[in-house]
Amino acid sequence: MKRSVFPVYYTWFDKLGWVGLRALCGAVLFFLLLPILVIIPLSFSDSSFLTYPITGWSLRWYQELFASPDWARATRNSFIVAPLATIIATALGTLAAVGLARVQFFGKGLITSLLIAPMVVPIVVVGVSTYLFFARIGLSDSYTALILVHAALGAPFVVTTVLATLQGFNQNLVRASLGLGVGPIQTFFRITLPVIAPGVISGGLFAFATSFDEVVVTLFLAGPLQGTLPRQMFTGIRENISPTIAAVATLLILFTASLMVVLEWLRGRVK
């Protein structure tokens, strides 16, 4: 007798439900992926309108993209702001997570909430408050303000990720190292850090993605010369959706997809 995929006790209703569930999930996954699948081919279309069917193929939008000084400036700015913000966020966040991990101290709950606050506060409130504040001290329209606030937005992700990693960290390694006479700082760099490295790196990647994709705070804090890629896309979508946007979108999808692959691989290492 052929073995059915359904358990023996399933009625027709249950079988229907089983099939229906998978159909629904397929539809939802399709819904999630559709926009990404749709925009990639359009970047190779030769028409200047973003409509299907695609009549001809060409690389001219990529050529326009690479020749445009606005997009070049935006790309340069994104790759200046995001890495610097990530470094600050990762360094400070890892330190804070190590401090929060094992030890109970006075006010730990309050401090934890404060450190996570940037994830909770509405982003436009962050944008307006930092804009008015930094403008008053003369730092509006500057890289400094942008990098600092992006780092503040990314730090909570580092803290939560590294904290989660530290839950599984074997404290005996540290005790052994201390017992062998190694100082605490050296212990941290030579024992703790390499073990939690996957967590630190994935937290750093989260922070990088947060800064790289950030648009609302950038709309307030960045002047026209500090505009990042999302800022430029925002203007582009408002003004005129040309296939150049589709070309940028495709490149960004490829970039973040590769980041994501690295992250998933690291997640496997952490668990």
């Binding site: 008053r136 003369g138 730092l139 002047g223 026209p224 010369l225 003004e239 005129n240």
Partner: protein, 345 residues
């Protein structure tokens, strides 16, 4: 002979002299799009060619908050900015802009009266008009009443998101003559009447925010008629799209060059503004986009086909009215809030 001191001296003079030889930069801010492209051709390139300075063109969407923040923090990085007329008045009152030295710019009598202001010079005259897709509409609409007539012209209409212009258009569609519009609008009944008329059209309105959107909507067929900036429609026409303008009842206004107060390049900025306001350059600008020059001497340099498309030409400005800055400076915030409430219903 000691070589070292000589070299040091040479190096010292070089470091002092080089910055003077290095080209200075001027940051000019405008609204981008077709307007920005025309400015590049008519103003920035000649200015750079004359060797005065390198022009860094920057785009913005009119946010005055950035200028205010810059001036208050005393860290001004924008040298010349193109602003709309309400912002000119407001900013001048609040001390955000430098007072211009007209002696260095030009003869005041050469310019249209509206273009002369203590804080700014008019850049061009533009008009918010009714545009339609001539491929979809065969008999041209002739008035704002036609814009509201959805049985004669079925389809959606594009309107700018906000109370400005729309209230005036609504009153004109309701039968108010162009010359009386602001008088009526200043009264409470007038404002109620305008909003009531807008409510009539509301189900058919698609709102736009950026100047590039109306031509896009018209070409894509999302709307059959739209309010639009005349220059953007002109740009679409140059690209071969069959969009036409009905000039009756258009609202014209000027954009102005201003210099944020406390900027480091005041003289260079004044030089740029002077150059951009001279007849030849203004004529070149008008050839690239159909916005009217503010320097009357530039009109003589333009041929008839260009002149016919300008908002300032006699046939186009016949029934037009000038945007009333004082009225909007006073009532703007309240009316925009009312519009937000109206849009929510």
């Amino acid at each position: 002979m000691k070589i070292k001191p000589v070299i040091l001296a040479l190096a010292a003079t070089a470091t002092i002299a080089l910055p003077a030889l290095a080209q200075s930069e001027l940051t000019v801010v405008n609204f981008g799009g077709a307007n920005g492209a025309a400015q590049k051709k008519a103003y920035f390139e000649p200015f750079e060619k004359s060797g005065a300075a390198k022009v860094i063109a920057v785009e913005y969407n009119g946010e005055q908050a950035k200028i205010k923040a810059m001036v208050e923090a005393k860290k001004v990085v924008w040298d010349v900015v193109e602003v709309e007329s309400p912002d000119l008045n407001r900013g001048c009152d609040e001390g955000l802009f430098e007072k211009l030295d007209w002696a260095k710019i030009g003869n005041k009598s050469d310019f249209q009266p509206a273009a002369v202001h203590e804080c700014g010079v008019g850049v061009f005259v533009w008009s918010t008009v009714m545009a339609y897709n001539a491929d979809k509409i065969k008999n041209a609409p002739t008035s704002w009443a036609d814009f509201w007539n959805t049985s004669k012209y079925p389809g959606k209409r594009g309107m700018r998101k906000g109370a400005r212009y729309n209230l005036e258009f609504a009153l004109m569609a309701d039968g108010v003559k162009a010359a009386d519009v602001y008088k009526v609008l200043a009264t409470k009944d007038g404002a109620d009447r305008a909003f009531k008329k807008l409510t009539e059209l509301k189900p058919n309105i698609q709102f736009w925010e950026a100047g590039a959107q109306p031509p896009q909507f018209l070409v894509a067929g999302d709307v059959v008629m739209s309010t639009a900036f005349n220059g953007r429609i002109d740009a679409a026409q140059r690209e071969g799209k069959n969009l036409q303008i009905t000039w009756t009842g258009g609202i014209y206004d000027l954009d102005y060059w201003v210099m944020p107060a406390g900027g480091p390049n005041k003289d260079l900025a004044t030089k740029f503004i002077a150059m951009a306001s001279s007849p030849n350059e203004q004529a070149e600008y008008a050839r690239n986009i159909s916005y009217g020059p503010t320097n009357n001497k530039a009109l003589t340099k333009l041929d008839a086909s260009v002149l016919a498309k300008l908002p300032t030409s006699p046939s186009n400005s016949k029934d037009a009215l000038r945007f009333n800055i004082t009225f909007w400076a006073d009532q703007g915030e309240a009316l925009e809030k009312r519009f937000a409430a109206w849009a929510a219903q």
